[in-house]
Symmetry: D2
Subunit: 343 residues, 4 copies
């Protein structure tokens, strides 16, 4: 059984998912696409030799497309409407982050899904599918290090573009740590505080970089998260969980080592797209397989909501310089107990 998939948004990430479904993964086929730029949608169909219909918008794609599921890979502000429409149409939907740009938007999506009575939404937090994070999760769950007490992590990019602003350090960058750490710990956030170290000379004048975010969870775990988007030397994701009995740490990406010119070294990636390439494959394969089984197990709308609420508090803390509280609604019954996507 091949899953028929519609794609809403054929920008870079949309095209990348089309490529992997078409060339790398098993069990999926692109049958419908749409983009605000219809020429772009047509070009993608041609580029990948798709047997797919191009629709003028998400509404018509959902109403008329020969599809079992959709990927929402448009720009962030459009996500909420497309996801709500997909739920309305009873289609499974994989939505890239953010699920919605506001906590209220995420709330509306949860309400629609709850009303529908079954999970239809998977959110694109791919790190949960990364082999290193999966090993960390397993070690924590097997109590290899006892109870986790602290996490030290860093999210570094060589360079941020001209449109990158200080709050995007939260909403575009830290958002991945917000999700993956809450999943690792099976715990949610209680408060946040942001500190600004000395600014690097490599950052543009309008922004703060680096930033250090202190997140506290309900269980008392203290997370020190560094965001540094002009670190120059590479794309580098660090994560170390310090427990009562030991410490586990995310591996460096696999690289040959070189002895040359008085140095012993391994390469550091420069491009973020190379870092989680296998996690993206597994994420989408899992979506296809889960839809095939009729039961999603990836990150939920509730996870998208947690990310939104937490990110809002982080941005508030960026501005206030104070510790800010993070308050979540009660967790709806629909979101209890899933395997991969849920604490």
């Amino acid at each position: 059984m091949t899953l028929k998939i519609g794609v809403i948004g054929t920008g870079a990430i949309g095209r990348d998912h089309i490529r992997r479904i078409t060339s790398n993964l098993s069990g999926g086929r692109i049958t419908a696409v749409t983009d605000v730029n219809e020429a772009a949608a047509n070009a993608v169909v041609e580029q990948y030799g798709l047997d797919a219909v191009v629709y003028p918008d998400d509404q018509s794609l959902l109403a008329e497309g020969d599809i079992d599921a959709v990927l929402v890979t448009s720009w962030g502000p459009a996500h909420e409407q497309s996801v709500l429409a997909a739920i309305e149409a009873g289609k499974y939907v994989f939505c890239e982050k953010p699920l919605a740009t506001t906590a209220e938007g995420c709330r509306r999506i949860m309400d629609a899904e709850i009303k529908h009575g079954k999970r239809l939404v998977q959110v694109g937090f791919m790190r949960r599918y990364d082999s290193g994070y999966v090993q960390l999760k397993q070690a924590i769950d097997e109590h290899v290090i006892g109870e986790p007490l602290m996490i030290r992590c860093a999210h570094r990019n060589p360079e941020s573009g001209p449109n990158y602003t200080s709050d995007m350090a939260i909403t575009d960058t830290l958002i991945h740590e917000i999700d993956v750490l809450h999943w690792l710990l099976g715990d949610d956030y209680k408060s946040v505080q942001v500190s600004y170290p000395r600014k690097t000379r490599h950052a543009l004048s309008h922004m703060r970089d680096p930033q250090v975010v202190l997140l506290e969870t309900n269980g008392g775990v203290l997370i020190t998260a560094e965001i540094f988007v002009n670190c120059r030397y590479g794309y580098d994701i660090q994560c170390e969980v310090i427990g009562e009995d030991g410490i586990v740490k995310l591996p460096e990406p696999s690289s040959i080592s070189l002895r040359k010119e008085a140095m012993f070294g391994t390469r550091i990636l420069m491009d973020w797209k190379d870092r989680f390439i296998e996690a993206y494959d597994r994420e989408i394969q899992d979506f296809i397989d889960s839809v095939g089984r009729g039961e999603l197990q990836g990150p939920t709308a509730w996870d998208g909501y947690i990310a939104a609420v937490t990110a809002d508090a982080c941005v508030k803390a960026q501005e206030s310089g104070q510790r800010e509280e993070i308050e979540l609604d009660e967790k709806p019954a629909l979101y209890e107990g899933q395997a991969v996507g849920q604490a």
Copy 2:
């Protein structure tokens, strides 16, 4: 276009390839299977829910099956006949190692392929698809370390089974190094000598373990290859290329690190099946894609022939204790210049 694939031999490796084609990879579908044990073939069809016909033997599968290509995953002594039959039928064929159990058998396959006029055969040397070896190859080809002078490698297994004999250290174990190093260097072998260190107490009485093989290439590169199949501690593949300007080394498999009980460590794999799992995926995906394009690029019958001739000389050197020469036929024009499979 989905490639229709027949599988000849539904033992462990056959089932594993069926699983990956069915669940992980893109563009292939199992339409025909056969096994000397027909009940096993039927069981596989059921287990994976295949829409495939079970044939009584390779001949009937090739004659009547709705197939574009076959995988030969039977036991070694049966490979040659199936591959020859596939060529005769004009089908693309992926054959697990060994291509044939004798150099003459490989020669016969090459002759059939040359007569057919086009490459139809890919041999299952999956290490060429491993990310670490690919990085090594790239570094060598980019002259990062100047001309290679020496290679130090090791092939270690925790334990060998009761049927494992000393010559299998060559034909089952070192065979992978024989292929991948000749590919890495773009060079063939000139001579070989085997030495026996003190024997481990963990080896059964009928066999020598470990063994050290010294291979010299035509270009003068000296390879020191350790084979140690009862090393206890893990499945461990080491490879280091020492060049005029530096040294490159294969990475350890990616693993989280742990600080606990006065030790800082990472896990070592125990099961060989975990080591090259992604290389197997890429190998078969490449076969599917290459057949789709009508042009194979993986390891060739010539590579299978080189492995057979070199392994024969190694076994002779095991017995003689002397340096033995390795003499290859001239390379047929059909095997010049391919990308992945050929030096």
Copy 3:
């Protein structure tokens, strides 16, 4: 010329310095000792076969001893009086940390030294003599990483004794980071805040463990310092300096590696005394050599004062839960420009 050295305090650290001067180092000889427990002092003379006179107290040792210099290795509250007496006697003095238990005490020592007109005091901050920290300092000073922006460090002990209290996490433990980081950066501290992660079950009930200290320097460098004195797995000192152009990190102590039982690992020290053993040797050798040249270059009374003021603010921050300011007097001219001991 052999330096004649008196030792005030023959407890563990005093005996250790006597041992190294007697057996490992060049140019020093113990000629006088005293301890509040005179029997202990006599036992030490016998144990090491010293040709040394035992005095009833520091005053008489300083007045009558045949000495060029003294080591103050008594318990902390006694340091100030002995150091002041040594300055009064015009003797060089190496004082273990703390220089004095209060900032005022350190101030008095500086005043006495300034009045004397020349540096006589070296404070026992041995990490500045550790090869790893020296390499970090050199890399920073050579602008290998551009301007430092952040430091992440950790000070972990397997276990704290029953008398260890939460404030000792600052005054006994973090004190070493306080000194060595201000030296590394050539910068002093502006403010501090302390956070308490979830407490480990391995800590005694009266104390907080671990603790996370955020220190900000005048230059804007943000230091995240973890103190974890019941971490179980080892004595582990981590320090990573994050700069505009790259990151430098303290090495792990040198250890053979082991592949065994599915793990690849190196040993972690359990005993803090093994970690800086060579740094202690170099520290005392430097004191001996510096006194021989008549010009001290190690950590100064001003460094002792900075440590005291900073530690006071850290303890205040432990109690208040707020960011506390750190305010230093103006730096006296006597303490400008030394090489090893001074930023």
Copy 4:
């Protein structure tokens, strides 16, 4: 008690030992020196401010010097005569390698020492005092890896000088492995074979470089030793012992790590003098302490003899291209059972 030491030979290594005895170590004092170049000897006395008499030759130094022991740090061909003269004079003698340039010369020294009835000679094999090798020895002796089966080692220099010849790869370079591995294993050598990989373009025309030496011990351990004296990238000593239950490996020298410009790396030493600097200190301190106790424990004349016999066979194997036997005399009773210097 300060040991009075005479130094025979004030070239680079002689001056270096004078420096360490004078500035770093405890318990020794240089009271007499001689050199074939008397002006050089006088210059050394002045440079280090020694209170030492300059003698015209080793005979007069030994006859008239106020000395307890001598260091023989002249050029190799002069060692035998000086050591024999020291034994004749009943003085302890530390002799840099080689003990003598021939096995017969070593034999004569052993005979003289045996006639004297007590060990007087320590040979300068400093690697036994290196912390990494000491850890390896301890792990082997504690059966951490079971019985050793193989050793893989490498001795690499960035560049060899114009006077370096192929046989010096054995007599000057491999000689250190010959000693330290026989000590590690508590085993002697049975046979040797030398292979020549492709020659690096960086080696001068008159020499072979790299070389691979296969040594077999009486206990059956197979040692693969690479000598590569124009490897360009650094001074690099590798040693890995492969046992029945696991593998132990010498650590890399401790170095800070750096993340910069897409590389994660540590420094590799370029200068051999930096690699074993602490081992040299411990070696000479042990000689001083052992003489003080009246009982040497470092490498013996027998060790010097083993190195000479083994090196002779290696040079013969370089020339013959064949496996050459290594035959030792029976071990004299005098050399049984010492701690550091003896297997």
